[in-house]
């Protein structure tokens, strides 16, 4: 692996050899066994905990999705009752959003941000430990609602009032508590990430020198700080409506159910960018590596990410085009939503131009990143269609919407996470993942994902509403395909687990710089990265300017 390009930054390696041996923090007394993991304050160990947790939850949420797809395999009610079906759709959404995608990104942030900015650890290591361990508590509580009388939450992951308040099952109070805990975890994680990025960069590294994964996470963390408290506020109001007789969302007491939707989507729209911005960062690291060419338009990538984040606060009511907004509001939210296509387009054009005249190889991280670009863009196109308010009167709450957000979240967020895992596994474990199996995982996933979600576009356009346990006969073919695809996709993810487990246990040894074209700071420490890195800050030298 001979480097073809001059390295972008050179390092004065004084710190990177601090492998295991000598340690400044007195880790000799470190607890063993389970206590070690319970009490760890090391960003790498906490990062691994987050990633393992999210992988487990990915399978739990996936099982719920498969229950849904199994019931929808053919018309009629065969396997589950509508009541349980609704619990499954709700839990699938909640688990995937709050317990799979978000913790996976936080896990990657924990592992990679200190390594990418040359920091010894996160700024607040003990807080880091606490914010992770809130998650198992939150989601054990959430999952336990399934066994409570009346069942778990059955009102969709968007939990619109009054279905989720006046008409909700008794377990809703526990659902609210679980979401509060998960929210606190995200908020603490976000504080930690902001504090780390703003204060712990290697000497000489300016903001505009940071890798894009760090940039996108910084912006994501600000979004989290801004909107998680709003979510906390909304569910607190729900809690009060349910238990203390207030009427925030109850028309009978002078409240307004539509207020719930405004508040929820004020959180909810930035939330969907929380789930995609770090993905942009990962892809922006991988594509230049395997194209062996610097990322095109670094500065415009940063500005585009910031623009998307800012616009995300001005588009929330595009989820509410049919609740009866006045004409001026419809127009405003239609225009602002369409505008988001511009910075998003800039990003896609930048990635494609990075590929142009590169020297491209197709290792598994690159395959997932390329699939991300194509399939996320398709999800973006359907998003643009949904932005057209008059047309949204037809698309809204149909499978077309389901197809849209699964395209941006599965081959979007989740493919980016998998790309990131394959990309950084050599750094984490010291071994390359088994390339043949990883490629097999890729091709199975790509077939599965498209077979599952592409037919949903047609089902939606043909008129199939979301969240129904049974459907009219004209939707049968689309659903049959989707269900087959879903089971295939689900099974393919077992290959992913196999690859990761094999990689942890052994495999081809990886050097410090595991990929020929990789340039960021994390590739300057040995593979596997020792428990403690950059205890003496590296000195960051720019060899060319981004700006």
């Amino acid at each position: 692996m001979a480097p073809k390009l001059p390295p972008q930054h050179s390092l004065q390696h004084s710190s990177t050899a601090v492998a295991g041996g000598h340690s400044q923090h007195g880790h000799a007394a470190q607890p063993k066994g389970i206590m070690r993991w319970l009490l760890t304050t090391n960003h790498k160990e906490i990062g691994s905990l987050y990633l393992i947790f999210s992988l487990v939850m990915f399978f739990v949420g996936g099982m719920f999705a498969l229950v849904v797809r199994a019931e929808l395999f053919q018309p009629g009610l065969q396997l589950v009752e509508p009541e349980f079906f609704n619990q499954m759709t709700t839990m699938h959404g909640l688990i995937m959003v709050f317990a799979a995608v978000m913790p996976a990104f936080t896990g990657l942030a924990n592992w990679m941000i200190p390594l990418q900015i040359g920091a010894p650890d996160m700024a607040l290591p003990r807080l880091n430990n606490f914010s992770f361990w809130l998650l198992p508590v939150a989601f054990t509580l959430l999952l336990s609602t399934l066994f409570m009388p009346g069942g778990g939450p059955n009102f969709g992951w968007t939990f619109y009032a009054p279905l989720s308040t006046t008409y909700a099952p008794p377990s809703t109070t526990f659902f609210i508590l679980a979401l509060h805990i998960a929210g606190i975890s995200s908020i603490l994680g976000a504080i930690n990430i902001i504090a780390t990025i703003l204060n712990m960069r290697a000497p000489g590294m300016r903001m505009m020198d940071m890798p894009l994964f760090v940039w996108t996470w910084l912006i994501t963390a600000f979004l989290l700080i801004a909107v998680m408290p709003v979510l906390a506020g909304v569910i607190t109001m729900m809690l009060m409506d349910i238990n203390f007789g207030t009427s925030f969302f109850d028309a009978a007491g002078g409240g307004d159910p539509v207020l719930f939707q405004h508040l929820f989507w004020f959180f909810g729209h930035p939330e969907v960018y929380i789930m995609i911005l770090p993905a942009f960062g990962i892809v922006s690291a991988i594509i230049p590596t395997f194209a062996r060419k610097p990322l095109f338009g670094y500065a415009s990538m940063v500005y585009a990410t910031a623009a998307i984040a800012l616009l995300s606060f001005l588009v929330w009511a595009h989820h509410m085009f049919i609740v009866g907004l006045p004409l001026t509001a419809e127009l405003f939210f239609m225009y602002s939503t369409m505008l988001i296509a511009v910075p998003t387009g800039v990003k896609v054009f930048n990635w494609v131009t990075t590929l142009f005249r590169g020297s491209i190889s197709f290792e598994s991280p690159m395959l997932f990143a390329l699939a991300f670009v194509v399939l996320f863009t398709i999800g973006g196109f359907s998003g643009l269609m949904l932005a057209i308010a008059p047309a949204d009167f037809q698309y809204h709450d149909t499978y077309f919407v389901v197809a849209h957000f699964h395209y941006v979240l599965v081959p979007g967020a989740i493919f980016a996470i998998m790309a990131g895992v394959y990309y950084w596994l050599p750094k984490w474990t010291g071994h390359y993942p088994n390339e043949r199996l990883a490629q097999c995982h890729f091709w199975c996933s790509i077939i599965g994902v498209n077979l599952t979600f592409f037919p949903m576009h047609f089902a939606g356009l043909a008129g199939m509403p979301r969240r129904i346990p049974d459907y009219a006969l004209q939707f049968a073919d689309f659903n049959l395909l989707s269900s087959i695809g879903a089971f295939f996709f689900g099974a393919s993810q077992l290959i992913f687990v196999l690859v990761v487990v094999m990689c942890v246990r052994g495999g081809k040894k990886a050097p410090a710089k595991a990929w020929e074209g990789a340039e960021d700071l994390e590739w300057s420490v040995p593979s596997p990265a020792p428990l403690h890195t950059f205890e003496t800050p590296p000195v960051f030298n720019r060899t060319h300017h981004h700006d």
């Binding site: 504080i191 204060n199 004020f266």
Partner: protein, 196 residues
């Protein structure tokens, strides 16, 4: 090294203080959005929410050239054995003209109970142009067993009602109010105070 560390920890502390302040601010903001939303609705007529406070009649010239149809719809809801009816289900008025219509509440059960009529106006763009001089919106009513009560609604349509509106629908939905016995008198005083 030590220097660097202390600079860093000062920076970290500052960041934490600022983000926590932002968090508290955003949490408060979420609750502030509730009254803000109400104000916003009242100003823009969003969602057909109606200004619940009575307004003075504005003496303006009646626009004889336009007739507006005003429909009244009354709806019951579960849990309240009341009937609400309106003397005219529809009336035609000129913008600027003051009109009156009587609503009658009847308690069909033998026991006393509390209810509240929640108004909504369609189209929502008309909401801000409907001035209620006297009304019972949102106000709690108490009816003894088998009691019947008639309350007038006096209203005026503003002259600047948008040109494309020629039908306005005012819907009242009657909801039960559940009180603990001891709260009743207190609430009663409060609501009557500001509305009629």
């Amino acid at each position: 090294m030590a220097d660097n560390n202390s600079v860093q920890s000062v920076g970290v502390r500052r960041t934490v203080i600022r983000t926590v302040a932002a968090l508290i601010g955003m949490f408060a903001f979420a609750f502030a959005l509730v009254p803000l939303y109400d104000v916003f609705c009242r100003v823009t007529g969003l969602n057909g929410k109606v200004d619940t406070t009575a307004k003075a009649i504005i003496h303006e010239e009646v626009d004889q050239s336009r007739y507006i149809t005003v429909q009244f719809i009354t709806r019951g809801s579960a849990g309240l054995p009341w009937q609400m009816s309106v003397e005219n289900r529809q009336m035609r008025v000129h913008p600027g003209q003051t009109a009156e219509v009587d609503f009658t509440f009847t308690n069909n059960s033998g026991a006393e109970s509390w209810g509240r009529a929640v108004p909504s106006v369609s189209p929502s763009s008309a909401t801000t142009h409907l001035r209620k001089v006297s009304c019972f919106c949102f106000q709690e009513q108490q009816l003894q067993g088998d009691e019947r009560l008639t309350i007038p609604l006096i209203f005026q349509l503003a002259r600047d009602l948008p040109k494309d509106i020629n039908t306005i629908t005012l819907v009242y939905t009657l909801y039960p109010v559940h009180h603990l016995a001891k709260d009743i008198s207190k609430n009663d005083n409060n609501t009557i105070g500001d509305s009629i």
